[in-house]
């Protein structure tokens, strides 16, 4: 019988999915800094027989700009390998024939270029940062209340994140505000939504047990992947906290110091 425990299970893997921020790089004021060993670790995965995909909840920039930003930090990744909430939302909108009112960051608007936005019949919110003004939220609220069946999509549901000048409220807070005001439940697109992980699996044509997710966010990366039947490994970089290792509801299949160590362990199980 095939080994199911980490790291033994790595022998039977066909693909690895990596979270990006906190696994590959850290954001510093005005620049992106690779986490030591991560550039080389990605290159080793790329030259192995494993398929590789990247899965991010980044919604402040389009994938084009994101790839260019990663390049400056030394990563050579193509747009087609990256799964982000905005393009996933576009797929949902197209599939269901929906025309969105957008409340998203200017940096990610170009991902929605192909979508018809006239006479909106749903609202999509992302981490709009400075654009989260009363006026803009009220506009979104009015679109929702004007619909017979109000439909709200949220690109992620994070509470907050750390920036150089302090903590910033994330999209989840504004999602909750609109949910309360309109008495509805938003559909979350992005991690930890099973649909998001499933779209990555579909792209590779693989079954969940053949795929391993590596991330720094215990609930969204590790827990989300596990809910889909994938293995989930947490790295002790990025937003990792020691308390994650005794979390009440999510237990990682393994915890490693960083991506480089994870890749060492995976490749050594494969005799490489």
């Amino acid at each position: 019988m095939a080994e199911t425990k980490w790291p033994g299970c790595a022998g039977g893997l066909k693909a690895v999915v990596l979270d990006m921020c906190g696994v590959l790089y850290d954001s510093e004021p005005g620049r992106t800094v690779a986490i030591p060993g991560s550039v080389e670790a990605v290159n080793r995965l790329m030259s192995s027989d494993l398929q590789l995909r990247f899965c991010t909840n980044e919604t402040q920039s389009s994938r084009d700009k994101f790839v260019a930003m990663l390049q400056t930090a030394g990563f050579d990744i193509s747009v087609s390998q990256i799964f982000a909430p905005a393009p996933a939302a576009v797929a949902v909108l197209n599939e269901r024939g929906l025309r969105p009112h957008l409340l998203v960051h200017d940096g990610v608007l170009s991902e929605f270029d192909s979508v018809d936005k006239t006479d909106p019949n749903c609202v999509v919110i992302g981490d709009a940062a400075e654009k989260f003004s009363y006026q803009n939220l009220n506009d979104a609220f009015r679109v929702l209340t004007g619909l017979e069946k109000p439909l709200l999509f949220s690109l992620g549901q994070g509470r907050y994140y750390k920036e150089t000048n302090g903590l910033s409220l994330d999209v989840g807070v504004y999602m909750k505000a609109l949910e309360y005001a309109c008495d509805l439940k938003a559909e979350v697109i992005g991690k930890p939504s099973p649909r998001f992980f499933q779209s990555v699996l579909n792209d590779m044509g693989l079954q969940p047990h053949e795929v391993l997710m590596i991330g720094d966010d215990l609930v969204n990366d590790v827990g989300g992947a596990q809910n889909c039947g994938m293995k989930g490994i947490q790295v002790r970089t990025g937003k990792y906290r020691p308390s994650d290792e005794k979390h009440l509801t999510v237990t990682a299949d393994g915890t490693v110091d960083n991506l480089s160590q994870a890749v060492d362990m995976i490749l050594s199980q494969r005799g490489g």
Partner: protein, 290 residues
């Protein structure tokens, strides 16, 4: 979607509490023989005495008749932006006889809480409401008060409020209305922003306005009477009548303002009385409760 305007929705935890409150209120009602004589009448403003710039027909006279009886009167309202003075001025323009000190609002309740706890608030309220907080120390704030402040509800200010709450500052909500009606349509109420901050910080806000029990007991406090000696008249079944009855008062629902057919069936126990308008409520009090 169906909208009741403006609407409050008690959070789930409160709904769980409701049963026990309901039982307590039922006890009070069932105990009418032991009820002491009526000493005070609390009266809602908008929708009960007036609708926008028009007085409810006969309401001024009815108020005067009530004042001639041996009973204290207080005007209670949920507002996030109007000071007591501006409320009074509007009612004076409509020829109602009342004084500023007879008005108790959700802003007054917030002020009282701040004074009791000696908090120094970051006030997210409209400038027009600031005068009700005159004299409150706002230097180095250690509490967050959320009213309705479209000018202040921006990314920076909310991030600041959030960081303060994360550092232990209490979150105080003037009330939790989902939305309110503006001339050009519906607009987001304070409840949306309070809920967002609750989610971000994993804490519960202290709500001070109607239908909170403390709102009613504070309004009665100055009059030196207990809930069992008071009646509330309002047009909002949940916030006025339900809230007052949960606090141990009697509640009279008037069919003016935001009243919609069947509203009296939305609360348990039902209103002590449902009547057409404020003058009928006064008539009932003068005849049956004094």
């Amino acid at each position: 979607m169906e909208l009741n305007i403006p609407q409050f929705d008690p959070d789930e935890e409160e709904q769980a509490n409701r049963k026990s409150r309901r039982e307590a209120a039922a006890e009070v009602q069932g105990n009418m023989s032991g009820r002491r004589a009526l000493k005070a009448v609390l009266i809602d403003l908008s929708g009960t005495l007036h609708i926008e710039d028009t007085a409810v027909p006969g309401a001024q006279e009815a108020l005067n008749r009530l004042r001639q009886a041996c009973v204290a009167v207080k005007f209670v309202t949920n507002t996030t932006k109007e000071s007591k003075r501006s409320l009074m001025e509007r009612l004076h323009r409509l020829n109602f006889n009342l004084q500023e000190k007879e008005i108790f609002t959700s802003l007054s309740a917030a002020r009282r809480l701040l004074e009791q706890k000696q908090h120094r608030p970051l006030l997210l309220v409209e400038d027009s409401a600031l005068e009700d907080f005159t004299g409150i120390d706002t230097s180095e704030p250690n509490a967050v008060v959320v009213g309705l402040a479209p000018d202040h509800f921006n990314y920076q200010t909310l991030n600041k409020a959030f960081s303060m709450i994360l550092d232990g500052a209490p979150l105080i909500a003037i009330h939790k209305a989902r939305y309110y009606k503006q001339k050009d349509g519906l607009a987001l109420g304070p409840g949306a922003f309070v809920t967002g901050l609750e989610y971000a910080t994993d804490c519960k806000a202290t709500v001070v306005g109607k239908p909170e029990k403390t709102f009613f007991t504070q309004a009665l406090h100055d009059l030196g009477c207990s809930p069992g000696e008071a009646v509330m008249i309002g047009d909002d079944a949940r916030d006025d009548v339900g809230g007052a009855q949960n606090a141990g008062m009697l509640g009279i629902l008037v069919r003016t303002g935001k009243y919609r057919d069947g509203d009296e069936n939305k609360i348990q126990p039902p209103p002590h009385l449902t009547c057409d308008s404020f003058p009928d409520a006064v008539e009932h009090i003068l005849k049956n409760l004094l």
